[in-house]
């Protein structure tokens, strides 16, 4: 069920009319799907999904956040829950719950050169594996699940963030776009220092 978005709110990097109860319901449906057992992936789907994730990972690790932002749909969500598995975002806070506007803000913020928590900036490298894919029967979107370890070096300290990604990819005229990226940190509800790197 999609909401009629008034024309003046069409630019979702500036407006956020589309996040309502129906959006949260759809998110919870997708998030549940991402945790279900899936049939074995076809090798074609798997290799295309893997190369998409690899390219996305490289854009982040090279700090090309504007290019990374271009990978997302207008109604996207970059979501890093606090509650393991996702929890209930209508009544719980997340580390990141970024619609297109907030994600644009985040990238803008990282690039102001004034965010002291990112001076010096995080250097990251991530390794992705255990990729699985399936098709969302109700939307035709591609669901991708993978394990990830993000290694970070900043201000003299090296850290590792293990967890898993759930991606919902929608095909567009020029390839896939990210409708949802759910980042599930293994210790999402525990103590973290300076969680300002991009996952």
């Amino acid at each position: 069920m999609s909401t009629e978005i008034p024309a003046r709110f069409a630019d979702t990097s500036s407006w956020s009319y589309h996040i309502g109860n129906d959006y949260y319901r759809e998110l919870s449906r997708q998030s549940e799907l991402l945790r279900e057992d899936w049939p074995e992936s076809t090798s074609d789907e798997l290799s295309r999904a893997t190369s998409f994730l690899t390219r996305e990972a490289r854009l982040i690790d090279e700090g090309r956040f504007n290019d990374w932002l271009e990978l997302f749909t207008d109604d996207c969500l970059y979501w890093v829950p606090v509650t393991p598995g996702g929890g209930e975002p209508t009544v719980e806070v997340s580390h990141a719950f970024d619609d297109r506007r907030r994600l644009t803000d985040r990238v803008y913020w990282l690039r102001t050169g004034l965010a002291f928590c990112q001076i010096p900036a995080s250097r990251t490298r991530r390794v992705i594996g255990n990729v699985e894919t399936t098709v969302d029967p109700s939307t035709g979107d591609l669901l991708v699940r993978s394990n990830v370890v993000v290694h970070e070096f900043r201000a003299g300290v090296t850290k590792a963030y293990p967890g898993w990604y759930g991606h919902v990819l929608r095909s567009s005229s020029d390839g896939w776009r990210i409708r949802l990226k759910q980042v599930n940190l293994l210790d999402s509800d525990q103590l973290h220092e300076n969680l300002t790197l991009v996952f």
């Binding site: 009319y17 580390h95 619609d99 803000d105």
Partner: protein, 442 residues
């Protein structure tokens, strides 16, 4: 040999410098942030031995026999409700050989059985039994082996505090004028119903716990430390929310109030006027446009009041030593080591409003800390690094000191000043010194 002889003869123990020399009118000594022994003493005296400390919010213990694991300084503590609903706090430390009993964050339990040798304790602390009691002599008296109880546990309108100091003042006396500010914050929620069950941002930094307390009452730093946030907020034009910290804040109407016993508050509300003003000045959060349309259509004249509740309280209330009320969040300062601290930002929801209001509250409680607190914590860490230089001894808190016209005494005796005055630090360090030296039983 000589060394050993001296040791046996008993050289005088190294005398710690008098703390009075380390806390001056305009400055404090760097060792208050770096010295292990001072830290160890703070954890005993400031965090419960003499002072009241904040432990939990009652909504985290929703039913009879609820429990919650917390820390009181470095002491592991279980806060419990007994079957009648009365609050208790016991050390999470088995009276047999010391293991923690409760290893869950929260839950419901009438009793706790130690996983090591199976001693079982009621949730009020009494020892119920030991496995194979015949192994203890006739004179074994169970009543002597209960859990160590925190002697005083009191709640102020849902905020649970505790102390081990029998002669500490009543909680409301310790809080003093801070109760009025807590009342304002609580009463924003219809019926005063605040729920602390919406997730926690557990943020850590490699620095002393007082760096967070210094900062909580500091109206001087936002224009600098939060430049990235202020800059981000102007991406879509006019800068919103905390922008008033960026314009010469001393000329503005914001004030900081000293509430006694180390408590203080910065009142940002004078930057706003009338119902709907908090909402109008809020940086836009996910779903804002939709919720505003819905609330205005459904609630008409009441919409401004409801929408304002999505936004923070516009006060920063610091209750010494470990409770910081900021926006809609309850922030708890949890020291881990002299140079390591956890700041737990507990998100809150409220009763008596449509669910959409609470959902936007979640989104606003992500925006800050996410885009603000890490910059402060990076600065705390860099302070800790800077303080490694022993020859540069002092940390200054002299802004506003002896500046004519800044401090005023209100009719209630509360001293206030412009928000960039470092009065907050000078004020709480007086309490700190008192608790660390003679006082605490006032």
């Amino acid at each position: 040999m000589t060394l050993q002889h001296d040791a046996v003869a008993g050289r005088p123990a190294a005398v710690r410098p008098d703390l009075h020399a380390l806390v001056r009118d305009d400055r404090v000594h760097r060792t208050l942030y770096t010295d292990q022994e001072i830290f160890a003493e703070e954890m005993v005296k400031i965090f419960g031995g003499r002072s009241w400390v904040y432990l939990a919010h009652e909504s985290q213990l929703p039913e009879p026999n609820s429990f919650l694991s917390v820390r009181m300084g470095l002491r592991p503590v279980i806060v419990t409700r007994d079957r009648a609903g009365v609050l208790h706090a016991v050390f999470n430390r088995c009276s047999h050989r010391g293991a923690t009993l409760c290893r869950e964050q929260s839950g419901v339990a009438k009793s706790f059985q130690c996983p090591y040798h199976g001693w079982t304790f009621r949730n009020t602390g009494e020892l119920v039994g030991t496995p194979w009691p015949q192994g203890y002599g006739e004179d074994f008296d169970r009543t002597e082996f209960g859990l160590h109880k925190v002697s005083r546990v009191e709640s102020y309108r849902g905020f649970v505090f505790a102390t081990l100091n029998e002669s500490a003042p009543a909680l409301t006396d310790w809080l003093g004028p801070a109760t009025g500010w807590l009342d304002y914050w609580i009463d924003r929620a219809p019926g005063g119903e605040v729920l602390v069950r919406s997730g926690v941002h557990r943020m850590g930094y490699r620095g002393n716990w007082k760096l967070a307390y210094d900062n909580a009452g500091d109206g001087y730093h936002p224009a600098f430390s939060h430049r990235s946030l202020l800059e981000m907020a102007s991406r879509m034009g006019e800068s919103k929310d905390m922008a008033y910290f960026g314009r010469s804040p001393d000329e503005g109407p914001m004030r900081t109030y000293m509430l006694g016993n180390g408590h203080s508050v910065i009142d940002q509300r004078p930057n706003y006027d009338g119902p709907g003003s908090f909402w109008a000045n809020q940086r836009p959060q996910p779903g804002r446009e939709r919720v505003e349309e819905y609330i205005r259509a459904e609630y008409g004249a009441d919409a401004d009041r409801l929408l304002d509740l999505c936004v923070g309280s516009q006060i920063n209330l610091s209750i010494f030593p470990n409770l910081l009320i900021i926006g809609n969040q309850i922030q708890v300062v949890e020291p881990l080591a002299v140079d390591s601290t956890q700041l737990s930002w507990h998100a809150t929801s409220i009763g008596g409003v449509p669910p959409e209001i609470n959902t936007i509250r979640m989104r606003t409680q992500e925006d800050f800390p996410a885009f603000g607190e890490p910059d402060d914590q990076a600065n705390f860490e860099e302070v800790q690094r800077g303080l490694a230089a022993p020859e540069a001894e002092w940390v200054f808190a002299n802004r506003g000191l002896n500046v004519p016209g800044w401090q005023e005494v209100g009719p209630d005796g509360v001293v206030s000043s412009t928000a960039t005055d470092e009065l907050h630090m000078r004020h709480y360090y007086a309490t700190w010194l008192d608790l660390m030296t003679s006082g605490g039983a006032r």
